[in-house]
Amino acid sequence: MLLIKNGKIFTATENCYQEGSILIADGQIVEIAAKIEGPSEAQIIDAGGRLVMPGMIDAHTHMGIMELEIGYAGYDNNEMDDPISPELRGIDCINPETRSFADARKTGVTTVITGPGSQNILGGTHVAIKTLGYRVDDMVVKNPVAMKCAFGENPKNSYGKKGRSPVTRMAQVAMLRETLIKAREYMEAKEAVDGDLSKMPPVDSKLEALIPVIKGELPLKAHAHRADDILNAIRVAKEFEVKLILNHATAGHLVARHIAKAQVPCVLGPTFTTPGKYEMKDVTFKTHGILNKAGVKIAIQTDAPISPTMHLPLMAAMAVREGLDHFEALKALTINAAEIYGIADRVGSLEVGKDADILISEISPLQYNAQAWKVIINGQIVHSL
């Protein structure tokens, strides 16, 4: 058992801090109260008035999958053979030894969403994992959490430049629609079997992987930077009545009203990146505040290792400088990300019954000189100053 006393607690359920203590047993939070007299066997951490908050969630990464540092040997990010590759699963290529995970723990990032890249129109599934573990299966919070799809320049560059489809944005959307229509028919054909195996359609692993998307159980996570790509994603999601998460949404502030109306959450970032593509020309840290004020649920990502995961709080701090409310930024780093990916039953806030993933920091992680003082994952202290 672990007892954190004298904390200035941000639970992420309310926009305030409260003085109090947290009791942890078997990796879970069992009590939060102004004062707790824990059992004598409990290990005590005296937070001494420090900020106690949920472990942060990096809401989009390729951690363990894209090992830039070792080049081709570590590059498992994009299977650039078929632009329609929904049958791939991010969980099959995660190397827990990648140093990003150690960086994440030191920063107070306790959960990350990781999965395939954006070169394919449909790239495969993303998974939510803890940043602690030696075997990915032990790290999983939920698998899958989203089906990756991509709009805009990346699929065009990967395939169009080789003379293959998609060459244009038109083809991207057409290929996605065609696949979703086939998946719907495949699902309906399977449902119509009704015990008569002679009616069973031949197995199709690509369409099989999309059934949870069609059923509205698994969100499409759409890589989209430019405003028109964002609107394309919203239009397709509406047509098929599928759940949608906008990934990057770099020009989101230009179409904030439409995103809010469609009630689509946005995973913003990495923002600290080279606007090396035309579709990123509107990149600004103002997007976060504008979308939040428009009523859009936002989370923040580093796209690690594209930008280092240890800069997740730094990105939130820059967004605060450019207009995002302080508490809304803390929520974007925690509970919002959990809700967007359907893992809020386990992580993202400090509540009884949730995983004991906790960051204790001298001061708000949004201040420039903040450092993680203690980081706890599953009730285990994984970083300590």
Binding site: E69, H253, K286, Y368
Partner: protein, 391 residues
């Protein structure tokens, strides 16, 4: 005369002036004092805000590798047809309309050194420009602050794929030596020759001559320890002035660099460890090198600079052991010395260019707001917050 009064002045030439006035005439600073002036149409009341010299980014490819265009149309950063091209000058490839300049200006970066990329073993000159202006010619303050070289992964990786040379680190160094030997012979021949036996004009050796004669430094892109040692060996053999660029592992041989009086342009932390040779990147590197006595500055080293990065780096340096004044020095007077432009910029002193940033509040705190940016005495930015479009 114009002036900013009632400001906390970080002159970078002596003590901070707690409350004082900076005045200028035309493009030059004419007065720095702890006296206050009465506000008027020409005298701006800073109301206690912080006044800094314009920031300097000592190495990037702004306008050379354009931020918005795709690779061929907007990329003029590497003449990758031949690995030895020291005769090139970025001045002839920079697009001043690239929005990166406005973005840098909005963050108070008023001077920028622009160099070719790291594909060529000898890439070309390092040009120094102001970030405000509509033509390159009016922006340039120094046509060549040195010659850019690159060793390590980048040249061999690119040319091996062609295939061409160099394919190994050995040949990268051999090619550098060969060109400096040729330059030495060329200079000797020129010195000895009468007009009838003058050696034919050679653009490569002509451009390397000032480096060999010690008038200009060699900027060497090198990351790994072994590459940095190779650069030191080359510098010793030809008695070159050396400035290391990127230098991801420099902090691992800080003492040696201090002894050799090598200056560093580092890019710690903010970027990804995207290659094997960048594995040792860390925020502690600047402090370790400074402690050993190495003169250095930091740059984001994106191909093109995202506007916020230099100031975010400055903030991260405060977190990693530097005082605010040390951080300001690292982005003003130190890069000015490294680029040998400290007679014009880098501090707030009489006679220097009136390049000033006025902050409403504490600089490099994630909370700073820039009130004014002045370049050559002209106000280039005045705001209460940049506006972005939204529907």
């Amino acid at each position: 005369m114009k002036a900013i009064t009632n400001a906390r002045i970080y002159t970078m030439a002596g003590q901070v002036i707690e409350r004082g006035t900076v005045s200028w005439q035309g493009s030059s600073i004419t007065g720095v004092s702890d006296q206050l002036l009465a506000p008027s149409s020409d005298v701006f009341d800073a109301q206690g805000g912080s006044l800094l010299p314009g920031l300097i980014n000592a190495h990037c490819q702004a306008g050379l590798k354009e931020s918005l265009l795709d690779y061929v149309a907007g990329d003029d950063s590497n003449e990758s047809s031949f690995p030895i091209t020291p005769q090139l000058n970025p001045v002839h490839g920079i697009n001043p309309a690239d929005p990166v300049f406005a973005a840098m200006l909005s963050q108070g970066i008023t001077t920028v050194a622009i160099a070719p990329g790291s594909i060529n073993v000898l890439g070309g000159s390092v040009a120094v420009l102001k970030t405000c202006g509509s033509t390159v010619d009016e922006m340039v303050i120094k046509n060549s602050a040195g010659i850019k070289a690159a060793i390590g992964d980048d040249p061999k990786q690119f040319y091996r794929a062609k295939p061409f040379v160099p394919q190994t680190r050995m040949n990268t160094m051999a090619m550098l030596r060969e060109n400096f030997f040729a330059t030495r012979d060329y200079l000797q021949a020129k010195e000895l020759a009468d007009i009838s036996i003058m050696p034919p004009y050679n653009a490569i050796t002509e451009s390397l001559a000032p480096v060999l004669e010690g008038e200009l430094p060699l900027f060497v892109h090198a990351n790994r320890r072994d590459d940095i040692h190779s650069a030191l060996r080359l510098a010793r053999e030809f008695n070159l002035k050396l400035i290391l660029v990127n230098a991801a592992e420099a902090h691992l041989l800080a003492e040696k660099l201090a002894t050799a009086q090598v200056k560093c342009i580092l890019s710690p932390g903010l970027k990804s460890r995207s290659k094997f040779e960048l594995q040792e990147l860390c925020w502690q590197a600047p402090a370790l090198l400074s402690a050993a006595g190495v003169e250095l500055t930091v740059v984001p080293d994106s191909n093109v600079l995202p506007a916020n990065e230099l100031t975010a780096m400055a903030t991260m340096l405060r977190k990693n052991g530097y005082t605010l004044e040390q951080v300001i020095a690292m982005l003003t007077i130190k890069p000015a010395r490294i680029l040998n432009i400290e007679n014009k910029v880098g501090s707030i002193e009489v006679g220097k260019n009136a390049d000033l940033i006025l902050y409403n509040n504490e600089p490099f705190s994630f909370k700073e707001e820039i009130k004014k940016v002045i370049v050559n005495g002209q106000e280039c930015l005045s705001k209460g917050g940049e506006q972005v479009a939204t529907d």
